[in-house]
């Protein structure tokens, strides 16, 4: 059995010794080749969890193994094999898309970089904007450029925070298509934090529901919808966020 892409045990983060935990002893595994959704309202602990998986935040307790590498002890062997995209992080605005991809390709040690950039430009329809300053792009174009950066090193694990936030439905649909296609072709695992429930239903084989720093439920979208007796993931999300699962279950 292959090592899971992510294996987390009793992961905890407290930002203050006397404060509540932002992430409270969560455990989960993400097998390779799967797309898993990380859902929860604001402050549920999603970004904190992703930051610990990326190694840019040190946990207070617990273990984080990514691609078989202990991210607390020595994260660097894993970092070259994963990538990340978030609306909270920008690509340098004054550099063109091509220049940004060239810089990050260099940081990840990507071989035959010009060919890889051309390949991504083709895949994500970046050709017309490749030599434009990243800061001058529309939200949708910036998201595609960020996604190209996230794919530059052909990651075995992709961590995505709100990958289609602020995109129009057409662009969002295309991005979802690219992600599904990448996961299928490459066998990479994707951990997706999203507030877009249609996106989660379409992409994710499994969903982790977070609230107050804990994983309060998990399962395939269809299984969760059935378990909560709801019509879609949007309603399941609301039940979890508002703590109305009991009422939901009682509703005929």
């Amino acid at each position: 059995m292959s090592v899971p892409a992510i294996n987390v045990r009793d992961l905890t983060k407290r930002f203050r010794d006397d404060g509540p935990p932002a992430v409270d002893a969560i455990s989960f595994a993400v097998p390779r080749g799967t797309v898993v959704g990380l859902l929860g309202g604001n402050g549920a602990g999603k970004t904190t969890t992703i930051s610990m998986l990326l190694g840019i935040l040190v946990p207070t307790a617990g273990t984080v193994d990514v691609l078989g590498v202990d991210m607390v002890a020595n994260r660097y062997p894993a970092l070259a094999r994963l990538n990340f995209s978030s609306p909270y992080v920008d690509l340098p605005a004054r550099l063109s898309v091509r220049e940004n991809l060239s810089v990050f390709g260099g940081l990840y040690g990507v071989a035959e970089l010009p060919a890889r950039i051309a390949e991504l430009a083709d895949l994500l329809d970046l050709g017309p904007i490749l030599d434009r300053k990243t800061g001058s792009l529309s939200s949708g174009q910036k998201t595609r450029a960020a996604l190209a950066k996230a794919l530059i090193n052909r990651p075995e694990l992709l961590l995505l925070d709100e990958p289609t936030a602020s995109l129009d439905p057409d662009t969002a649909d295309r991005v979802r298509g690219h992600l599904a296609d990448y996961a299928k072709r490459s066998g990479a695992a994707i951990l997706l934090a999203s507030h877009n429930m249609a996106e989660v239903e379409r992409l994710c084989a499994d969903v982790l529901m977070m609230k107050g720093g804990r994983i309060v439920d998990r399962g395939a979208p269809a299984a969760l919808i059935a378990r909560y007796g709801r019509a879609d993931m949007e309603q399941v999300f609301l039940d979890v966020a508002r703590g109305t699962r009991a009422e939901a279950a009682a509703t005929p």
């Binding site: 930002f15 990326l54 990340f84 920008d90 063109s96 260099g106 990840y108």
Partner: protein, 268 residues
Amino acid sequence: MTALGAALGRVGAMSKRHLYLFRSSWTRVFDLVYWPVLQMTIWGFVTVFLNQQSSWFAQAAGVLIGAVLLWDVLVRSQFGLTLSLLEEMWSRNLANLFVSPLRPWEFAASLMLLAVARSMIGVLPAALLAIPLFAYSVFDLGLPLIAFWTMLVMLGWSIGLMIGALLFRFGLAAESYAWASIFVIQPISGVWYPVSVLPAWLQPLAWCLPSTYVFEGMRAVVIDKTFRWDLLAGAFVLNLVYMAFAFAAFLYAFALARRRGQLLQSSE
């Protein structure tokens, strides 16, 4: 690829990132050149005036222009390092960098390399302009110029890395330190006057600064036509101590930022 080769590749990628930035923004290049040229011009005319008034200055022609150019090497070196870090914070790019295989020491090394480049871009035009304007060439200092330049760049690195540590710790709220800190040492570094001018109680503090050794050494070359190896050795030893301390502070602040979750959102 060897580990060293990969590390050099990442340092090169960071350098390329700032080269692209310069290429896309001539105002940034102009800003680098503007202040050194302005300072040199002002002190050049002050020198012309003083030469007419004082036989001492007439004999020590260029000591003030040499001082202002070397001071700018220090300032531009520190600003260059700090500015490269600030560019990453302003563009909210730190998290992208530190989820890549880029190590903190490689990041620091790239900042140091960029500091050298920025100090050269800033000071060389002023140094070249001083030749036709004031018939003064700082290059007449000869080989000692390389030693002075190196010592001042090293001190600029140390101060820049310490400010970098503050930026990691306090975010952009510490930005003002980036521009103000270096000037604290100017009055006691003997830039414009010998250390002997300072009050006796302040002189030991002045001799704790590598810059003091450089400016005293520069005056020894210009006025006494002597290169003081003892001053160079003093500057070098102090620089090694400060660099070790600054590097440790930078890495410690980075580790602290990882514990506090400040790398993802490095704002105020």
